[in-house]
């Protein structure tokens, strides 16, 4: 589903953020990207739908990441940002969920129907007309997820989906992610979430992909986790 080959990216020449990343994610696989702050997890997610463009090659499904394919790739890859306040830029939850659908050229009835379904999926159907400012962080995260899900993407790229949530909010997100059928890349520090949701884990550090393996193997390798700042 996703094939990344020799991908490198730098915000400034002296500051490489991704170094020669090669990674394959199969359809339906849920892969966690773990690593210390500044490891390059978010930068890698932003490459997936072409918001940042590095050197190397990246394919999503049958599509090579290039200018001509950007609209199609952005429709396939739903990106959930770490801060829902950055992601939810509209003045009502419904408008925010409908935003991407309008760019897909759907009719108003389809937009309303898909938005309602996505909000229902994340348990937010009663709050469609609320302002994002009225929501708790957990509700904002779920609404932001709805704004991605309504576009019916094949791939979900999620940046710290459980960060800052209270235990109930975190549990809600974990349950939701377990139920979703999409291929997922989840950048997170939450190793419990990794254990419950993801079958594969990729460990990153200083822009490099250090290790890829099954969750059970990686999460039980305490030396590896400690070395890369995932255990104190």
């Amino acid at each position: 589903m996703i094939e990344i080959r020799n991908l490198s990216f730098a915000y400034a020449p002296e500051k490489p953020a991704l170094r020669d990343i090669t990674l394959r994610v199969s359809r339906g696989q849920k892969l966690a990207l773990v690593g210390p702050n500044g490891a390059g997890k978010t930068t890698l997610l932003l490459q997936l739908n072409g918001i940042l463009r590095g050197q190397g090659s990246l394919r999503v499904g049958e599509l090579e990441l290039k200018d001509d394919n950007l609209p199609a790739i952005r429709a396939q890859v739903g990106l959930l940002f770490q801060s829902p306040d950055d992601q939810m830029f509209s003045n009502s939850v419904f408008d925010d969920v409908a935003y991407g659908l309008r760019y897909q050229g759907l009719a108003d009835e389809q937009i309303a129907e898909r938005a309602a379904r996505a909000l229902e999926q994340v348990g937010m159907h009663g709050l469609a007309q609320s302002s994002p400012l009225q929501l708790s962080l957990g509700e904002k995260k779920r609404a932001a997820l709805a704004s991605v899900l309504c576009m019916q993407p094949e791939v979900l790229a999620l940046d710290e989906p459980s960060a800052g949530l209270d235990p109930r909010g975190r549990r809600g997100i974990i349950n939701l992610l377990q139920q979703l059928p999409q291929t997922m890349l989840i950048a997170t520090h939450d190793l419990d979430l990794v254990g419950e949701v993801c079958s594969q884990v990729a460990v990153m550090d200083a822009g490099r992909l250090v290790r890829v393996g099954s969750s059970a193997t990686i999460l039980s390798d305490y030396a590896l986790l400690t070395e890369h700042g995932l255990r104190a």
């Binding site: 950055d86 003045n91 935003y99 309008r102 897909q104 302002s131 994002p132 929501l135 708790s136």
Partner: protein, 269 residues
């Protein structure tokens, strides 16, 4: 305060006739109302009274707490009051026939009756204009109002800027509030540093706030791109106005025009 910021509560939910009226109709009526008030001659007292009566009826139709609506208008009117009221006295020149004097709390105040009339006229018009605007914003959701203004010709880019400004103004205010709290939490010493130092700290805070806002704007742009934004704004489509709605707007605008013409004819007569 919510984690994201203080909730803007300009819109007051309700089920009144005004709440249910299409936002485009309300925006058009408001524009007609503002034009009418702006074009009325200074001393058209009767017309002001008629407009005040219409505004009062609209206020009642909104079925909202009157005190809240009047207080909001008064807050907005206050700066104008502070600027205009001194004009009555600043224009007065002692010894000229056109001036009157008034004794108040032992002070001899000299004022110009002509300036007084002008100021009262401006105050009446501005108070009614502000009250109408307050009423419309209290009965219309901000995004509906923006959509209505766009339907009436507001450029879409300006509309997007206003929408984002409205969305993030409160987030930035909350961020500033948190920075102030953080400063306060570390300002417990018995000998506070000098004014220059504090000014430098405040400058640094403003700079940090600006940088954070710029970074946030970049992240928002990325979020928009991720969902298909390509530099072209796509707005929700609105149903066309019904004939009855068009007729209501036309009738109100025509009524306003009649009031203005009548007032100007009476002023000449």
């Amino acid at each position: 305060m919510t984690p994201g910021g203080r909730q803007p509560d300009v819109y007051l939910p309700g089920q009144s006739l005004l709440h249910r009226t299409d936002a485009r109709v309300k925006a058009a009526l408001l524009i007609a109302c503002l034009l009418t008030l702006g074009l009325l001659p200074v001393r058209a007292w009767l017309m002001y009274l008629i407009m005040a009566g219409l505004t009062a009826i609209a206020l009642l139709l909104a079925e909202l707490p009157l005190v809240v609506l009047l207080r909001r208008a008064l807050i907005l009117e206050l700066p104008l009051l502070l600027v205009l009221i001194p004009q009555i006295f600043l224009n007065g020149e002692t010894g000229t026939a056109a001036n009157e004097s008034l004794r108040l709390l032992g002070w001899q105040l000299v004022f110009s009756p002509l300036a007084l009339q002008k100021v009262l006229g401006i105050l009446a018009r501005s108070a009614l204009s502000i009250q109408c605007a307050v009423l419309i914003t209290a009965t219309t959701r901000f995004e509906d109002l923006l959509g209505a203004l766009h339907a009436l010709g507001l450029p879409s880019m300006l509309m997007a800027i206003l929408a984002l400004m409205w969305r993030y103004l409160f987030v930035i205010m909350a961020e500033a509030q948190r920075m102030l709290q953080a400063r306060l939490a570390r300002s417990a010493g018995s000998s506070p540093p000098g004014l220059l130092w504090r000014a430098r700290v405040t400058g640094g805070m403003l700079g940090a706030l600006l940088l954070r806002s710029i970074q946030r704007s970049q992240r928002i742009f990325q979020a928009m791109q991720a969902r298909g934004y390509n530099g072209r704004l796509i707005l929700s489509r609105l149903d066309p106005l019904t004939n009855a709605q068009r007729l209501a707007v036309a009738a109100f605008a025509a009524g306003g025009a009649v009031l203005v013409l009548l007032a100007r004819w009476m002023a000449v007569g």
